[in-house]
Amino acid sequence: MQTTTETAACPECDSQITFDRSPLNGQVARCGDCGVELEVTNLNPLTLEIAPEVEEDWGE
């Protein structure tokens, strides 16, 4: 397996996300700073988008 270090900015907080191995399209990662779940949507250039999650809604 190819070993490399690639980085991309978190689209939520701008923190640098580091991949120790070559990322795969569709791979899910988590930002260590803001905790947001991210999805790799493009490999060249390496692009991350915020993964969709169900939101809390307590209204009645």
Partner: protein
């Protein structure tokens, strides 16, 4: 290096928290603990959590002997009148009351309704909020403790205020019952207090004077409500910023302000049950959790800060300030991480 510390007026909640924190401080030996009303009694009669942990008796304040640090935990208005005596007993004095929080005697009179009893001492005071005044604390001999609500508001807003980004702000502050102190009152009586959400200060809370002193003359007001919680403060500040800000901008501003702070954590996640600050997980901890969100439709920024009012809002900040003034590791005695569930 071991220093001696004595606590004056130690029968209240902040005195109890100082005892708990200093009892595990690697560089401090608690010398004397005074309480006029409890003189001669063991401290666990008043602070039952310290039973078997600290073997000390309360003494009369008149019997307190010279030591390295005096912590004063007397009611507001009592400390200033005796300050010269206590400064002659302690090489350093940390006063946890409101008497020395405001630098200007005229401002004090405006907010506390009487002449300051020791205006000449005000020139020597350093406000004990390390995140803003660390350099001044390094050689301070007279340190003022912080207001708990003021601490939550100040830390929530500091990254915005120091960059001139606040046009107007209204802070909604929710507080626990221990803020009212150990003496009972009509508002703290259990049948009145339990399960209520009681707004006791809809505007013009005294702690706003501290916030303005620390952050500059920003346009701020606050509504403070007592909720069904023993410890804790949550400040939710609604900010009209001077320019449009994005979530990324806010991360940058808060990181720049707090990245190196040992006791400030940024809690601003998109998901999860604990994505924004909650004082419940800070019980017993000296941490301040700050967070933010932006309504991209209106541009309104919501800035939050949660603390334990008795620790980061009182005794913990006082010990952190003492650590800086005395050359200890700033974290000494203060590394308890809080409880979950609490």
């Amino acid at each position: 290096m071991t220093m001696t510390a004595s606590i004056i007026g130690a029968s209240g909640y902040t005195g109890g928290e100082l005892l708990r924190i200093l009892s595990i401080h690697p560089g401090v030996r608690i010398a004397q603990v005074s309480s006029r009303a409890n003189s001669g009694k063991p401290i666990h009669r008043v602070h039952p959590n310290l039973r078997g942990h600290l073997d000390l008796l309360f003494c009369d304040p008149a019997d307190v002997e010279p030591c390295d640090v005096v912590f004063m935990c007397m009611p507001h208005g009592k400390a200033a009148g005796d300050i010269e005596r206590w400064r002659s007993i302690g090489k350093r004095v940390v006063d946890l009351s409101a008497d020395f929080r405001l630098r200007d005697a005229e401002v004090y009179k405006q907010w506390y309704g009487g002449d300051h009893a020791a205006p000449s001492a005000l020139d020597d005071v350093v406000y004990g909020l390390p995140e803003l005044f660390r350099e001044k604390l390094a050689d301070a001999t007279l340190i003022s403790g912080v207001g708990c609500n003021a601490t939550a508001m100040t830390l929530a807003l500091y990254p915005l205020a120091r960059n001139g980004l606040i046009r107007r702000v209204i802070a909604d502050v929710k507080v626990g019952s221990s803020e009212a102190g150990a003496e009972p009152s009509a508002g703290s009586h259990h049948p009145v207090r339990a399960r209520s959400v009681r707004t006791y200060s809809p505007f013009g809370h005294r702690h706003l004077a501290e916030v303005r002193q620390s952050l500059g003359e920003i346009d701020i007001d606050a509504t403070v409500s007592a909720i069904d919680m023993v410890r804790g403060v949550l400040c939710t500040a609604h900010v009209e910023p001077t320019e449009r800000l994005t979530t990324r901008d806010l991360w940058k501003l808060y990181r720049e302000a707090y990245a190196d702070e040992p006791f400030v954590r940024i809690v601003a996640e998109r998901n999860g049950a604990n994505r924004l600050p909650d004082p419940r997980v800070l019980v017993g901890s000296n941490h301040a959790d700050v967070g933010f969100a932006v309504d991209e439709g209106s541009g309104r920024v919501i800035a939050l800060c949660a603390i334990d009012n008795l620790v980061k809002g009182a005794a913990g900040s006082a010990v952190q300030a003492m650590n800086i003034a005395c050359g200890f590791d700033e974290r000494a005695g203060l590394e308890f991480p809080g409880l979950h569930p609490a």
